[in-house]
Symmetry: C2
Subunit: 375 residues, 2 copies
């Protein structure tokens, strides 16, 4: 197992990660408290895909006391988005709906231009396409601000200077794995990543893969000295690639993922062909010994997000484990679920232009953010 | 002798510096060519205070061919300005007037906040006061753009990203003396310093102390690969402090300098008391042996800038060297010249508000610059 912000390898032991990163498990008590406040629990939390946190208890306490909190997430536009990318957006959508809070979504076009060998035109193209996908997910248009780093810099640069003065290159090296050969733009970028956590004088709740946790270490080191709150986080496991439970779904290998713009036939083809199965080699053996849901990717994906109905999921588990349900059948269940999700996504995307305009420029929160300047 | 962008010590051998920095002396031929184009030579050039250059010949060639060039200079707002600070502004004023070109003046509030232990409020205060002094010098209000880095960042950030991708921390360390303990903001700043050299697709001519030359090495390394010109420079010697010819006038020691806001009595008091004299200890000895203009600060200051009349300066040199003119008399000549200069400066400063507005926002060039975005 190897987990850093820039590398995830091997079979992951999540309890060990909690220890190593010094975070906390989302336990029964916290789940109950959240359920009481929200009226329900989102499937991604209920099934434990988001399993660890920092200060989530304080976030809930702030909410209970009427102080509130806000949500912050983002996207680095290096390519089109796949299913693994949308889970945290689905979760913030739920948080926003249930808690009625503001949501800030950073599109880090600057970071990705500095980090990758992409041209500005490419980053720009993906930024626009990613925003279409993200906006289609459906947030409160008056409580959501989607911004491109390169476009919003003028409003945050002074505050960035204040934060930057507190972070040495040495620290950035240790936390982000920078070297002397890192370009000076990228070494400054992490400061921008921190800034949205200062957009309100409340606690920011950030949903992210647990591998991203070190990125917030600097924020938590400097926030209070600048008069802001330490960021809170809720950490997810890694969405497993089609090929099996190790590593994470990767943009660089198209076969490992289902893309948001994959068509119905493509989804079916990929899952039938590539999804790692916990079923037995022959129908006879499968009927006799049953499938293994612990390694079966179709089952895992249904369990993480795509089958929200707990009873139905239980029935699938039972029937697949007993060998009543075949590998091809459970795959088809997933194909259908994903295609329904993507069909709905395509429908929403067709009318997304106005939503983008509101969340980027014209909605209540967006207007407030463009009128402001942070110092 | 020790000359780096962050340290100037000892008695300076300027011919040695030309060799060490790999620049070129401004020779007779170049002086004649400039005089022919400009109709005259500015005192700072004529007397050799600006003595070295990079590509000044190419700048003149571009001008001769009708392609033109532009001027770029700046100010780091760490305190009030002294006489040593205005010389390069006087020179660009002359260049602008004689060649009719655009002038860009960067106020690097970001750099100074990142570099010094000043609060933002202090940097902000000095930025405003420095802009008043600079604008009072008197530039073409439709061909001059004065901008504060922190305010203009939104228009240049994308171009900064492109430049930043070409500069590693390693290079920044070598050129600027950064270390691992340098903050990540300051390590990014040099990119901003480079950007104004890309404001036009022409050659930028930068007047600066020769110690600042290494700062432009990075610009000259990356400019052409980004589709722009290598910056040209015209280098000055160091304006000597009141106490004598070694080192340079320093903001951190108020006694070494005359400030633009020093009153008439203060100017007189400082020069009479602190200006290093090349005169003899007693009047008798002075009458007999004469003064040494080579070390006499009042004579040096008159020669560098404050006595424009060559014949009068020659007469002063003759008479002081012969002992006819006393140390107190040459000092009073300088007091009068400086007080006249500062009186005129104060007069212009009283009506500077409108000029500032034009050069920062409403003049022809300023409006063009605010409408633009650099990529």
């Amino acid at each position: 197992m190897r987990v850093t912000p820039w590398e995830v390898e091997g079979k992951i032991d999540y309890n060990k990660l909690i220890k190593e990163f010094g975070t906390k498990k989302i336990g029964e008590e916290l789940l109950k408290r959240m359920e009481k406040l929200a009226g329900e629990l989102h499937v991604l939390i209920r099934r434990g895909f988001f399993f660890s946190h920092r200060d989530l208890d304080k976030v809930l306490e702030d909410f209970e006391k009427g102080k509130g909190f806000f949500l912050y997430t983002g996207r680095g536009p290096t390519g089109d988005m796949h299913l693994g990318h949308i889970l945290s957006f689905e979760l913030v959508k739920w948080f926003q709906k249930r808690f009625g809070v503001n949501l800030y979504i950073a599109i880090s076009d600057d970071e990705k231009f500095l980090q990758k060998r992409l041209s500005w035109e490419e980053v720009d193209k993906y930024a626009k396409r990613n925003i279409e996908d993200i906006a289609s997910i459906g947030f409160d248009e008056d409580k959501t601000f989607i911004f491109r780093d390169s476009e919003y810099i003028g409003r945050v640069y002074k505050l960035m200077l204040k934060a930057a003065r507190k972070v040495t290159f040495s620290t950035a090296k240790a936390v982000f794995g920078f070297t002397n050969e890192t370009n000076v733009g990228l070494s400054f970028y992490p400061i921008y990543q921190i800034i949205p956590t200062f957009f309100e004088k409340k606690r920011a709740l950030i949903p992210a893969g647990i591998d991203q946790d070190p990125y917030w270490r600097i924020q938590r080191d400097i926030a209070e000295s600048l008069g802001y709150y330490k960021a809170a986080a809720i950490h997810s496991k890694f969405f497993p690639p089609l090929q099996g439970l190790e590593g994470k779904m990767s943009s660089s290998n198209p076969r490992t993922a289902i893309w948001l713009n994959d068509g119905e036939e493509e989804v079916k083809r990929k899952i039938m062909k590539y999804a790692f199965s916990g079923g037995k080699p022959t129908i006879e053996e499968h009927r006799k010994y049953g499938g293994d849901i612990n390694v079966d990717i179709p089952y895992q994906w249904l369990s993480i997000f795509f089958e929200e109905d707990d009873k139905r999921l239980e029935e699938i588990a039972r029937s697949y484990t007993k060998g009543e349900m075949l590998s091809g059948e459970i795959k088809m269940l997933l194909v259908e679920k994903i295609n329904n999700y993507l069909k709905e996504h395509r429908r929403k995307k067709k009318v997304v232009e106005k939503k983008i305009r509101k969340m980027m420029y014209e909605g209540k929160l967006a207007r407030e953010m463009w009128e402001k300047s942070f110092e």
